[in-house]
Symmetry: C2
Subunit: 428 residues, 2 copies
């Protein structure tokens, strides 16, 4: 059997998964790849740190040069995450003619173009299935299987941490703060949860998917972003009453060569399969002009699911697959315009206000909506007359710009405490 040497940069969560899979599934991997894979070096920050894995002595190193300058190492697997030194190390590995597998969504989303270009210049393969959706083979799917399609839209639950929090809020009635705390205790959320909770992580993943699906360069700053930290238990409960479930979604749609991408909480009809994707599961819903609707559901994180995607990429390289990198950036199919404006986005909306429930108040609010052509589908009020109570509207489909103009006027009415939340309803 042929042998191949690979190196891991980092052996944290995903790295441990890769190590375990290479050993547990050795028989399958040998047969499918045709190779005996040897992890010959692992880059770590601290060699003496206790690790639960049975790693032989001499494999660990703190010196990247022992990897990039070792001509016997053919594949470098970057699992450090973050910006630097991961970028420098990947470029250095590629310049030394090593194939690279990475799970680094931040770098793919923000500096993917440069990585792809160097891969092409050096004639090596750069694979990154693990960067989106953990084990879910969505990148392979878009790049290899949906190639006959013009993709019209992608809607994804792309972040497992926020999906776990929203599931706890929805099914167990927890507050955002308590659900976040539980997610942190279980290791689903980091000590600083900003990247997950405020939607940055989902933005990076949406950028990667969009660049592949729409064949165009993506500037992550053109993606509209809202997190879930503003969601209150009452929003979850009102959504339930109306037959919806709130999910943090990433949406990319292309129409008339204009691409719009956005990440925000949305109310999904309970009958849509995305509404029933719970806990830390991810899901990606793709609509193509030939395939129709296609959906992938799977574990979006975790050492073994993400490790499954990484080891799958290693096997793909060994089987000398087509170079996935060549389909991104360097071969733009559709250099379409991107809009980051939400004013013309047409949605139905959920709006929750606090009002002093005096006579005539509802009439004044609905009059302002009417003046701006915002048509109301449903109203719900809770609490006692004469006090400040939550008042919820669901609108018919309306351009977001009109809605905001109406709300500007409504804010000025007497007895309106504040507009507490606006959530888009997505019916796809």
């Amino acid at each position: 059997m042929k042998k191949v040497k690979i190196a891991l940069l980092g052996v944290g969560n995903v790295g441990s998964g890769v190590w375990k899979i290479l050993s547990t599934n050795q028989r399958e991997i040998r047969k499918r790849s045709g190779y005996d894979i040897e992890v010959s070096k692992i880059l770590v920050r601290d060699i003496s740190k206790k690790r639960p894995l049975d790693i032989p002595e001499g494999i660990l190193t703190t010196d990247i040069n022992e990897i990039v300058n070792d001509p016997t190492i053919e594949i470098v697997v970057e699992l450090m995450g973050g910006n630097e030194p991961a970028m420098e190390y990947m470029l250095s590995a590629m310049r030394n003619k090593k194939h690279v597998v990475t799970a680094n969504k931040l770098l793919l989303a923000t500096q993917g173009g440069e990585l792809m270009q160097v891969a092409e210049e050096e004639g090596i393969m750069l694979y990154y299935e693990a960067s989106v959706g953990g084990g879910i083979p969505v990148i392979h799917g878009i790049n290899e299987s949906l190639t006959a399609n013009r993709i019209e839209s992608i809607v994804g639950i792309l972040n497992g941490t926020t999906n776990y929090i929203l599931t706890k809020m929805s099914l167990d009635g927890m507050s955002f703060e308590d659900a976040l705390k539980e997610a942190q205790e279980k290791g689903y959320a980091e000590a600083d949860p900003t990247s997950d909770v405020e939607g940055f992580d989902a933005v990076y993943k949406l950028a990667i998917l969009s660049s592949l699906a729409f064949g165009t360069k993506i500037d992550v700053d053109s993606i509209y972003r809202e997190g879930i930290s503003n969601l209150k238990s009452e929003d979850i409960e009102f959504a339930k009453e109306f037959g919806y479930t709130i999910k943090l979604i990433g949406i990319a749609t292309e129409k008339d060569d204009v691409l719009q991408m956005r990440v925000h909480p949305a109310m999904i009809p309970n009958k849509h399969p995305l509404a029933n994707v719970n806990d830390s599961y991810n899901a990606i819903f793709i609509r193509g002009n030939a395939i129709g609707d296609l959906m992938f559901i799977g574990r979006g994180a975790g050492e073994l699911p993400t490790g499954s995607a990484v080891v799958g990429d290693i096997i793909s390289i060994l089987r000398n697959n087509v170079d996935l990198s060549s389909t991104i950036e360097t071969k733009e199919i559709n250099p379409c315009k991107t809009t980051s404006s939400m004013d013309e986005t047409i949605c139905e909306y959920y709006i929750r206000l606090w009002v002093n429930d005096r006579p005539g108040c509802l009439g004044e609010i609905t009059t302002e909506f009417g003046k701006h052509n915002v048509s109301i589908a449903s109203v719900r009020q809770k609490g006692e007359r004469g006090s400040y109570v939550p008042l919820v509207f669901i609108t018919h489909a309306t351009p977001e710009g009109d809605l905001h103009k109406a709300l500007e006027e409504i804010k000025k009415l007497e007895g309106i405490s504040k507009i507490d939340n606006i959530i888009r309803l997505e019916n796809f």
Copy 2:
């Protein structure tokens, strides 16, 4: 731009879809494949037949030799279906060094080994994504993305016709006969619906998936098979009462190197995502030892979804992908034992009997169950005392052999009209 000539064998439903996609999505396909694809010949039975497609004169032919003997044709796309002459034509195309794309599940399931072997001998590529799940990229998924996994089980809604019928029975309260008639009128079911309704189609698809997932040769006759024609509206209604939905599923599980495959109606808990896959949608649920649970949902039939898979395969060939055929049959990972016996299958069961509701009858039945170690979880009875009424039992998990022994005894009791239906409950 490079040019490539291809030929279609047949231009019915799927062939029309392929023709339309090649023209509608020409821009995307050129960019992604690097080729200008020309359909230079189409094999038909009757040239003069009116077709709704705008096919140029001179492309149609009734002579296979004009295709297999034309050295300028590089890819042959077999969309005739059935046994012969499809097999002969594919072999002839491969022997003439043409790559082959096919949607022929019957041939893949029953003579896949021979097709793969010839493909390997001739050094050509044989792709068949469209043979299972229409547009759903499940074959690519298993072959390319899940390679790091030992697959433990596959559960699929593999037949769109029966899923359409069951959806109509479940959501609209239709009888099996009426739902089948409607499916035939809408073109979802054929005039002779046996292959769909009795589970043969699902058996072929399960055989293809199993051979890839478990890396072993599959004899289709070793797959246990039950269709849906015996399902009555009362079974659907009782299932609902218990919180289940009835689906025709294909299941393949491997344990201790023994592979069991079966196709039959099953009661799926409503909270499982498979229970909510309706109409003609297909779904495939895969459990791997690294990836955990992964599910694909999409259109399992239709000219454009199936055409999407066929054209995707053509593009994969043009991009010179890895030869998928090399992973099936010829490279057995796991030549495991197959069992076709259901006696040791452990399930919970739904059993519907007609009984003369005389005093003591229920006690006699439950005593017989008890004697054979079949433990009852739930009983429901409908109708009036003193007449023949349906009586439904749900058992706890029990080996199927024991259940049948108990039922043999129960049949002999006074007042038992017949055992009308037995449906397995699947909790995965």
